[in-house]
């Protein structure tokens, strides 16, 4: 139950910013929070824009990382759900 519905159109909430930092690499800045992102997490966040569907996002990431769709869907879904729990993203 960690993947999102295919038709979900996730987005970062207002005031949550993805930024490349010269010292730390990709970071997500939110109220009182700094998340240091690995390459995969940064790639997921670069895909979500409130318009693209989760199915399409999974397809694009699957092609980019040459990884099975189920694996991408599970990992990206769990990550986005955790961000939604923290009021940083909407699903």
């Amino acid at each position: 139950m960690s993947a999102l519905p295919d038709e979900a159109r996730p987005a970062l909430l207002s005031g949550v910013r993805l930024r490349e930092d010269p010292r730390r690499g990709w970071v997500l800045l939110a109220p009182e929070r700094v998340l240091l992102l690995d390459e995969t997490a940064a790639a997921v966040l670069a895909e979500i824009d409130g318009a693209r569907s989760f199915a399409l996002i999974v397809e694009r990431l699957s092609a980019r990382f040459a990884a099975p769709r189920e694996e991408i869907a599970r990992d990206a879904g769990a990550f986005l759900r955790a961000l939604a729990d923290q009021r940083m993203a909407r699903l």
Partner: protein
């Protein structure tokens, strides 16, 4: 050690707390400002703050917290916020909401403000205004929360909890939801500075503290995905101390209205240290090389029971100010820790204060 070497070995700070002024229309008896308040004439002008934000950004700071006193007491707050945003910092305003009427929040949002943190003294007007000492403040706070929602500006409510308002914790959580907050900070009063002068009036009972932990845990579960609750429990009745400031010289820098750079907002209580000033010294030099920031950085300064403790990298020995206040030595373990030989004394004093007649508190003066 050269600057280049030092900046390789000392990780950069992530947060800058900018106390733009100590002036405030409210007079909360637990104010975290130092007991010796800065005067208006000593406040740094906007161009100095702008230069500081550029230095902070270059040093690696990510978050700028514009605080006070009440930062809206400065007529040039919008200019200062714009400078923080222009420097690339995630810009947060920490406010009582008083002085942010008619268009100021719109101007701040346009200046690049990323987030608003609004204090509430209690979940209803009468007690809130009795604590803050400002009639009409509660309606102003509500109006600011409504304006933040209109502007799609993320909102955190900050509630300092103590003897007089702890029983309103459920109502405070409900207020955060009603006002559209994404986050709520439930911060049990820290008995330093002004609050130390009001111990009996503010110290919660052990029963209140235990009940609060249960209420917060249940609400965090119930409101997952709706409201994030960050909780600072009482350190008077805890087993281990909190990681004060995330560790000395490890995460953040506080700059006072006059430009003194501190490892925490209460650090001036450590009178054996002298604190560098950002008017004379670069922030990079202050962070990496000043005696004040290096005094309790890392582990070399620690004594037992901290030195060999498995939790030394979790809580960093706790609060230096509390250690000094209770033991006379700022390098002792925080007596909030159950492993400190002074812990029983701290706990007994908290029980005693909570059992006293609360009486009247002494308000913090407005300026």
């Amino acid at each position: 050690m050269s600057d280049a070497q030092a900046s390789k070995t000392i990780p950069p700070p992530t947060a800058l707390l900018a106390e733009l002024t100590h002036r405030c229309p409210l007079s909360c008896p637990y104010c975290s400002n130092p007991v010796a308040l800065a005067k208006k004439a000593d406040e740094m002008a906007a161009p100095l703050w702008a230069r500081l934000f550029e230095e902070a950004s270059a040093l690696g700071v990510l978050h700028a917290h514009l605080s006070g006193g009440e930062p809206a007491a400065r007529a040039d707050l919008e200019t200062i916020a714009a400078a923080a945003s222009r420097a690339g910092l995630y810009t947060n305003l920490i406010t009582s909401g008083v002085g942010l009427g008619a268009g100021r929040l719109e101007a701040l949002a346009a200046a690049g403000l990323d987030h608003l943190q609004l204090s509430v003294q209690a979940p209803e007007a009468a007690l809130s205004e009795a604590i803050g000492g400002y009639a009409g403040a509660f309606a102003k706070k509500r109006a600011v929360a409504e304006a933040a929602a209109r502007l799609d500006l993320p909102l955190t409510l900050n509630a300092v909890m103590h003897r007089r308002n702890f029983d309103g914790l459920e109502a405070t959580i409900a207020l955060a939801q009603a006002w559209g907050a994404r986050r709520l900070e439930v911060a049990t009063v820290q008995l330093h500075g002004w609050a130390a002068r009001n111990r009996a009036a503010l110290t919660p009972s052990e029963a209140q503290v235990l009940r609060a932990s249960e209420i917060v845990a249940a609400a965090q579960e119930r409101l997952r995905g709706a409201l994030v609750i960050d909780y600072v429990p009482s350190d008077q009745f805890a087993r281990y101390p909190k990681a004060c400031m995330g560790g000395w010289g490890r995460v953040g820098i506080v700059v006072t209205p006059a430009g003194d750079a501190l490892p925490c907002h209460g650090a001036q209580a450590l009178t054996q240290l002298s604190f560098p000033n950002v008017r004379q010294t670069s922030l990079a030099e202050i962070w990496t090389r000043s005696d004040a920031f290096n005094a309790y950085r890392g582990e070399a300064w620690m004594q037992e029971p901290c030195r060999s403790c498995a939790r030394r990298a979790v809580d960093f020995g706790g609060c230096r100010c509390q250690a000094l206040a209770w033991t006379g030595d700022a390098a002792e373990a925080d007596p909030g820790c159950s492993l400190s030989p002074h812990h029983a004394r701290l706990r007994a004093a908290a029980r005693e204060a909570a059992a006293e007649e609360p009486g009247a508190w002494m308000p913090r003066p407005n300026a």
